[in-house]
């Protein structure tokens, strides 16, 4: 009874550690691994952005910023969102700069949820949504999405999961881990249901710039949706700024004010160095960003044709930097496949079930890797499948 472990809240104890963590330890112990298991760009932040950060430090920008973030940054975010999505947010009270989208997610759950409120989480998805809901005393309800729908959320599948306690819907497109996207029409098909059931949408659009077919569409831009959407984005993926931890959330002034209150007491403000760098990214980062996106697109096509050529069934991912092929032809489940592939061929990919139970039977392959490594990885996976019963 005196064990320190007993002091830990049962709620926290109830949350399983991320499935990725376990696999990370295994990969870290293996030598000569080609990793397609990362979740970030293979570029470092463009030099002009790093340079602007040095310059701001030289000039002594080392202090707190206002809770909501530097006014210039919020203004640039407003300009960016208006030009990209056609949605207008007031820098004064509708935008909050956060420590990555991760903080914005946490704030949103804490601000919106009462005990046992339900958060609808389309899966497979990024690992934080369900634990975030539970940590805010809510309940995560998994909404399955399927390869046959290219992992779009359909109104039919959503409706099946809605209950009187449903309060929040998470939309995360372009999607990690599947690479699925939702077009404007796909999103329009959901809005009447969202409005009918009075849901708030948390729209995690961190991969928005990494859209390879058509333009990224935000649900916030659809009629009647702006006030009930919390649009979240950041700099990690588009500008290769993962370690800077700068994100933002935009939405109705009352929700943003409530989020700012929690943010003020827990974080105070996002680091000023990152905010200065983010301003530079928005003002002058488009060219470098387009170059990186074009390069991901080349590699996307390369890995997709490679995976298909070794007999893996894979729908065409149109966003982010992941492929999510089915590995059922191997007769192995996701975890067995990934462990054996790592031990036998030294290629690291992430088991699909780490992103929700209906990710089982799939693996996530990140193509933010060099062409040489992608080709080597495909060759090794081909050898592996020869031994493990590919079609």
């Amino acid at each position: 009874m005196n064990s320190i472990g007993n002091k830990i809240s049962p709620l926290v104890k109830s949350i399983p550690p991320s499935g990725i963590r376990k696999f990370f330890d295994l990969v870290a112990q293996t030598e000569g691994v080609i990793s397609l298991g990362v979740g970030e760009p293979d570029y470092v932040t463009p030099w002009h952005i790093r340079e602007e950060c040095f310059y701001s430090l030289e000039r002594g920008y080392t202090m707190y910023t206002s809770n909501a973030g530097l006014p210039e940054l919020r203004e640039e975010i407003a300009i960016y969102l208006k030009s990209k999505l056609g949605v207008e947010y007031s820098p004064a009270n509708e935008i909050l700069v956060t420590v990555g989208v991760s903080e914005a997610l946490d704030l949103a759950m804490r601000v919106l949820l009462e005990p046992d409120d339900e958060v609808l989480v389309p899966e497979p998805c990024f690992v934080s949504y369900a634990p975030g809901a539970v940590l805010a005393y809510g309940k995560a309800v998994s909404v399955p999405t399927y390869a046959s729908d290219e992992y779009r959320l359909t109104a039919e599948n959503l409706e099946k999961c809605i209950t009187p306690r449903s309060k929040v819907l998470v939309l995360a497109y372009p999607n990690n881990p599947t690479g699925g996207i939702m077009s404007r029409e796909d999103l329009e098909a959901l809005t009447s249901l969202i409005i009918k059931h009075d849901l708030i949408v948390i729209s995690d659009e961190i991969y928005s710039e990494l859209t390879y077919q058509g333009e990224h569409a935000s649900i916030a831009s659809l009629p009647g949706m702006k006030d009930r959407t919390l649009l979240m984005n950041g700099f990690s993926k588009a500008y290769a700024m993962t370690g800077w931890r700068i994100g933002y959330v935009c939405g109705h002034p009352e929700i943003i004010a409530a989020m700012t209150k929690v943010h003020q007491y827990t974080i105070m403000c996002a680091p000023i160095m990152g905010q200065k760098a983010a301003i530079e990214a928005l003002r002058h980062g488009e060219t470098e960003m387009r170059r990186m996106v074009d390069d991901y697109n080349n590699r996307r096509k390369l890995i997709l044709s490679g995976l298909r050529s070794i007999g893996l069934d894979c729908f065409e991912p149109r966003g982010a930097f992941y492929c999510f092929p089915s590995i059922t032809s191997s007769g192995l489940n996701s975890e067995e496949f990934c462990e054996k592939l790592l031990l036998e061929e030294q290629v690291a990919v992430v088991p699909g079930n780490a992103f929700g139970s209906n990710g089982n039977g799939h693996i996530r392959c990140c193509y933010a890797a060099s062409v040489t490594n992608l080709e080597k990885a495909i060759e090794r996976m081909g050898n592996f499948l020869q031994r493990h019963g590919a079609k």
């Binding site: 990370f24 870290a28 990362v38 970030e40 096509k301 992430v350």
Partner: protein, 162 residues
Amino acid sequence: MNLENRILKLITADAKLSNKTIASMLEVDEAIVEATIKKLEADNVILGYKTVIDWEKIGADGVTAMIDVKVSPEREVGFNRVAERICRFPEVRSVSLMSGTYDLSVVVTGETMKDISWFVSHRLSTLEQVQSTTTHFILKRYKHDDFVFEDPQEDKRLVVSP
């Protein structure tokens, strides 16, 4: 961007990309990539393929100089004739017509500084159109043809992340 430009963009960054890789990236047949590259070679759009080497790493000596050359242009042909003459010397790596205070920028390599000064005094300065030369020896290279020398390119990312 048309296919020729898309192919050129890829092989400018990496000449060793195989036709198969290029074909996958651009979603066209390998045979089309092969034919397009052959045509670009035949049309002298692609002049050749070279390797960027850090010779210092293997202890190879050698000297490179950039020479600013002032020349008198000639009637009808301007700077072209003298530029073409300078191009023909095998020790000349590149020749460009410049705006500004001099006319031609000539890059020359040799085994020793003496080789280069001999080239300048005996070959270059003696051309009748050449009025003057200023020779700058390269002391150290930091970046060349997009490659930064001494730039550790290791992947610093976590091997697996969400």
